[in-house]
Symmetry: C2
Amino acid sequence: MRTNPEVLAVDLGGTNIRLGIVTPQGRLARRRRGRIPPPSTPEALYDSLVTRITGFIGSGGATARLGAVAVGFAGPTSSASGYVYCAPNLGQLEGLQMATHLERRLGVPVLVANDADCAAIGEYWRGAGRGAKSLFLFTLGTGVGGSLVIDGRLWEGERGIAGEIGHTVIALGGPRCSCGNQGCLEALVSATAIVRDYVAARKIKPPAESRITAKMVFDRARGGDKVAQRVIAGAAGALGVGIANVFNLLDPELILIGGGVSRAGSRLIGPAVKQAGQLLFAPLREYLRVRRTSLGDDAALLGAARLAFERILT
Amino acid sequence: MRTNPEVLAVDLGGTNIRLGIVTPQGRLARRRRGRIPPPSTPEALYDSLVTRITGFIGSGGATARLGAVAVGFAGPTSSASGYVYCAPNLGQLEGLQMATHLERRLGVPVLVANDADCAAIGEYWRGAGRGAKSLFLFTLGTGVGGSLVIDGRLWEGERGIAGEIGHTVIALGGPRCSCGNQGCLEALVSATAIVRDYVAARKIKPPAESRITAKMVFDRARGGDKVAQRVIAGAAGALGVGIANVFNLLDPELILIGGGVSRAGSRLIGPAVKQAGQLLFAPLREYLRVRRTSLGDDAALLGAARLAFERILT
């Protein structure tokens, strides 16, 4: 075992990849980001990943103290086995033995965990969740993830696949979700959902349609676009239902909201918290604490690394 | 401390009360049941409870080995403090210091916990949950409760109020719930909801309306009543959504279904599990395990007693 080892942390989202080096003290350095092409097969995904990681190492990204690689992955994943049950935002790839495959090709220990789980541990370790005994994190991005920390430990579920708040149904018969069901939280508050609703309300046709992003909708709302404001208000209402559902079911000390979509800030989070409060039993409202995450994109990198420090490098 | 003490366990639902004596080995004896009038004030509720409990003791219900009274209560309750945040099925009584009050009047240690939490621990200890490392229990009655057991311990939340699956919203804009919101799971699968839907579909008017019970609707469905069958199928579909939501969010080893409404058996649980399976990511379906509870009304009595043994009588 190397003394004072470092972890190469990787955050692999639906379309983006980020890398960085994390020290045992939780310092994150030498960040790099990029895009990965939508993979057609698990092998294509591994190839992309290995190319990115070895490229990062080769260009001086890693040091002689590299002890492990830790990957936060956007799909139901068991961090105990590194098994990815499915990859709904990566062309529905199923059954990836990701940790095993990457270990074989990289020659260092590899931990793979769900990206929202990593972000929750990252925020708990170094961010907005410091000091909370329990927390639930909503990660709002292309999809919607979730993660539960109880007494400082992830509750990943019996198979390591807990936290899929994005695929809990809150609106029976509602809009179609990427998973095929209707009315999932993800189908109402993800970046995808916000773009879909704005494009529909503005009757924007291809090819202009493909250039609309959630960030543009937020920018337009800020600039006074009433349609954009209405779309975001709808997403905020649905997020409020999700927050109330989590509070009612799990009663965590703290609820955190992170991910790209959360950067909309007050226009999304404020109304969502108000809606959540209205849905709670009146005597319980005072206990609702909701905060934005503070680490941004670094949370998943830090949390993935923290899990590797705890489980591989101790 | 008495050697080999026994616990007087009380299960206090929306309208019914049950009492019994539990030994440290989990034997339940001298059960008694009755009804309590809807209380107008906390004091009226305490009076009813104390009358029932002392009557039970006085009539030979308890023994010289009585070590504690343990109450399972139908509302958000902290078992650590015995504080009842609110009592939505008892005329919206709020802020009951139930354990403190009962202790003062009964002269023995009193533990008060949420009834669904008690039932979950009861099933984990002596029933259908034996051997499971984690489980989630749905309790379907006048209302809908829930409870989460992780690694053999209740997760009651930071304030002791977790598990309110009945008031998670699954159908935005759906039927009105007892809590005032719309589309809560409880508004779709409780006994109350089943009666409401049947009465509406059959256009049954007062006074006949007030005589319809969920049990009658189940009996009629069994007897071929197509309207009753349709109402129960609707409830089963909603329960399936609730099951899928819990599985996606918490990934427990086992999901249990208990409470009076669950006695409808195969007509409710079978379609609910089928619906839940269809809502899960295909690779995760094989992990879904749903069972009916096996202890019936005894679960809450046994579980309340178990908590008292663990926390008061060790």
